[in-house]
Every structure is written in structure tokens, then in C-alpha cells.
């Protein structure tokens, strides 16, 4: 069984912190297929947080096919998270390397590159509605 923790100063919404901690446990093999995750009531009692926060996190993980809820029994791990195949990693790493090279050639320093990456990353998040300023 895993235990959750909450970083209230992190700026990451609490439900997302729970989602991330379950995924981390799946990646590290701390949770395996068929394992039960803590009940909503247990998480609420442990962290003293809003029950809807936990429900939302578990629903999100169900939607991604990682957890399954069995009414009256609890919530269980449906599949573990293999980190994606090393081959695709290598390819992504190569194209990122090329991009970084061209950014440096354009005269961007380390901080500017990080800032550009971060704003672009947040700007291309799914379901983000668009407007202009």
C-alpha cells in the first residue's frame, strides 16, 4: 500500500499531486497490477483534504486506464507504467539535441532556452482554450 503526501506550496493542484504520485509508484514498481490503492476515505483521513480531490485524481487515473474501481471493493491497479520504449527515447533525445544546438546558435543562453521551453510547454497543453493579449 502506498502513502500520499501533499506539498501545499508547490502550485501543483492537489489532485494532480496524487495523480503524479500514483504514476510514480507505478513506474517504480511500488504498485503492481491487481494491487489496491488506498480508499478515498483513507486518503482523506490521512491527508485531511477534500474528498472530491481524491475522487478527481482516481477518476483521472481510471480515464487513463491505469486504475479500475470495483464498487464495494475498492480501487485497483489495472496496468503498470512502463517508461516508454528506449528506442523512442533515443530518437526524441536526438531531435531535442538538434533543437538545442540551433537555439544556442541563435544566441540564446541557458535561461532563455529554459524560459522558451517552459512557455511553449505550457502553451501547448491539451484542452487549453486560446485567446490573445
Amino acid at each position: 500500500m502506498i502513502k500520499f503526501y501533499l506539498d501545499t506550496g508547490s502550485g501543483t493542484p492537489p489532485y494532480l499531486q496524487i495523480v503524479q504520485q500514483v504514476k510514480q509508484a507505478l513506474r517504480l514498481g511500488m504498485l503492481e497490477k491487481g494491487d489496491q490503492v488506498p480508499t478515498v476515505r483513507e486518503v482523506v483521513a490521512q491527508l485531511v483534504i477534500n474528498p472530491n480531490t481524491v475522487l478527481k485524481a482516481y477518476r483521472e487515473l481510471e480515464r487513463e486506464g491505469l486504475l479500475v474501481s470495483r464498487p464495494g471493493l475498492g480501487t485497483f491497479v489495472l496496468k503498470t507504467l512502463e517508461t516508454s520504449s528506449p528506442a523512442s527515447h533515443a530518437a526524441l533525445r536526438r531531435s531535442l539535441g538538434r533543437w538545442l544546438q540551433s537555439a544556442r546558435e541563435a544566441g540564446l543562453d541557458e535561461e532563455s532556452i529554459l524560459a522558451l521551453f517552459t512557455t511553449t510547454f505550457h502553451g501547448t497543453q491539451p484542452r487549453e482554450s486560446e485567446g490573445t493579449a
Binding site: T8, V44, A45, L47, V48, P51, E130, G131, T132, A133
Partner: protein
Amino acid sequence: MSNALETAQLGRRYGRVWALQDCTLALPAGRIVALVGPNGAGKTTFLHLAVGLLRPTAGSVSVFGHSPQREPLTVLPRVGFVAQDHPLYKEFTVNDHLTLGRKLNRRWDEAYAVSRLNQFGIPLTRAAGKLSGGQQAQVALALGMAKRPELALLDEPLASLDPLARRDFLRALMDVAVADGLTVVLSSHLITDLERVCDYLVVLSHSRVALIGDIEEIVRTHKRLVGPRTDHTAVAAVHNVIEESHTARQTTLLVRVNGHIFDPAWEIADVTLEDIVLAYMGQARASVSEASGGGMGGPWRSPLDDEKHDEERDESEVTR
């Protein structure tokens, strides 16, 4: 989803002073609502109107579709109310309080109350006045929840408790919320007390609703923008500017964003819920002092507002 509580242009006046005015809102069922505002913003008045202890001066309030004043027999069994400072009869034992609750309520689940009290190791034969502050709060909560309400209203339940007792109290309350799926409204002048447990927010300031909505959505849509000192009308045309401050070279804005901010001149940062709440309170204060002149400032005005109420001050000096 249906609403547990709705108000329309709800207002309450004490003498010449409005404690709450023009309050139109809907609280969805199943949410845990933080009712936040400075002391005197109208939180207690709002809760007393919701539970029928006060009659509205203007507008209306309905709980599960019924008026708490006109249909108390329909509304009150479904509502649990814990008043400020969880008042108990100091000489009465915990058992006496249970007897009182049993005799006064149509809906009463004594086994439930007793099991909750046992869970916290509270001696049923002890006089309430001899219990610690935290234990008294737990007794008040257990009594309020013994009705098995669908809506729980708690007025400043954490104010008199130390940090450990606060945590225990909220844990007990969340446990009820999980098990029974009830709607909860908790008032406090500190949002940080409630941030972990609440998912819906109502900010009252100067007797009016300054901000309302889903907390996650509120935090997600508010950003702090820092940029070189420029005209920010382009930002203000698309996004709502809540707070602005300027130095000779820099402009800092707190905005509610509509969509994405593309202008690279602005550095964009997340804002804490506390900062957002404080910004809305500041905005409400500014609009009140702009609009004042009449007796509209609410019962507890800032010194700034008081200067504009010479007439009232004269009266109070006569009575002194």
C-alpha cells in the same frame, strides 16, 4: 448538479447599515465551501439567514428549494448548524447534550453521535465546561451531525482551536463528508485554514460577494504578470485586471485570464489562493470607498471610509 443553497438579491440591514447586500449565488450540492471574508464582512449574517435565524430585509434565500424562515419544518431537519465558538451548556454533561438533541430534533441518530464521540475518546459523563477546547468543538460537531444533515453550516469552527485540534476537527468533518456526501459551508477569515479541505469558494467583502467559484478553476485562471512599465490596456481589453501596482519601470498585474497570454513582454507566474483572495478584498474595498458617501460601507468600515461618515460619527458621540 442541483444546488444545496440559493440566494437572490439577498440582503440584511441592521438599522441603517447593510450587513449583507445584493447577494445572489448558488452553492452546488456535494461541495465543501469556504466562506471567507474579513471580520464583519457578513459571514455570520449569511449563515444565520441560511438557517432561518434571521429574516431577510431584501431578496430571498432557499435551502434545497425551500425557505428556512417560512418552511422551517421542511428545511431544518436537513441542516446542521454549528454556531461560532461551538457553544455548549457548560454545566451539562455530554450525555445531557445528547438527551437535549434527542428531544429537540425529529431526525436524530444517537448511535452515530456516540460512536463519533467514542472515536475521539470524549467522556460522556463529563460536564461540557470541563472539556478541552478541541473536545468541545468535537462535541458540537457530533451534535450537529447527529441529525444526519444534508447541509452542514459551520461558523468559524476553527477560530478558537490550536493547530492540532484544527487538524483533528477537519479530519472528523471530512470523514462525515466522505461517508454521507453532504454539502458543507465553513466560514473563516483565513483562507489558508480551509484551502486543503474546500473545493468551492465564496469571498465576502464589505457586505457583498467579491468572488465565487470552484477553487481549482480560480487558482488556474489567475496569474501574476510582471513586465516593463507600459500601458496595459491591451491586457485589460482581454483579461480582467484585479490588482495593479507600478514602479517607475515595472508594472505588476494580478489578472483573471481569458485564454492564453501571448505577449512575450509579460512574465507570467502562478498566484496562491491567499493572494487571489486578498486582491479581491482589496478591490472590494476600493470600490466601496469610491462609491461611498451614503451609508453603504457595511457595519465595520476601514478608517479610510469612516472619514466620509461625519454625520454618523456625530450621532455616536452624542450617545457616548
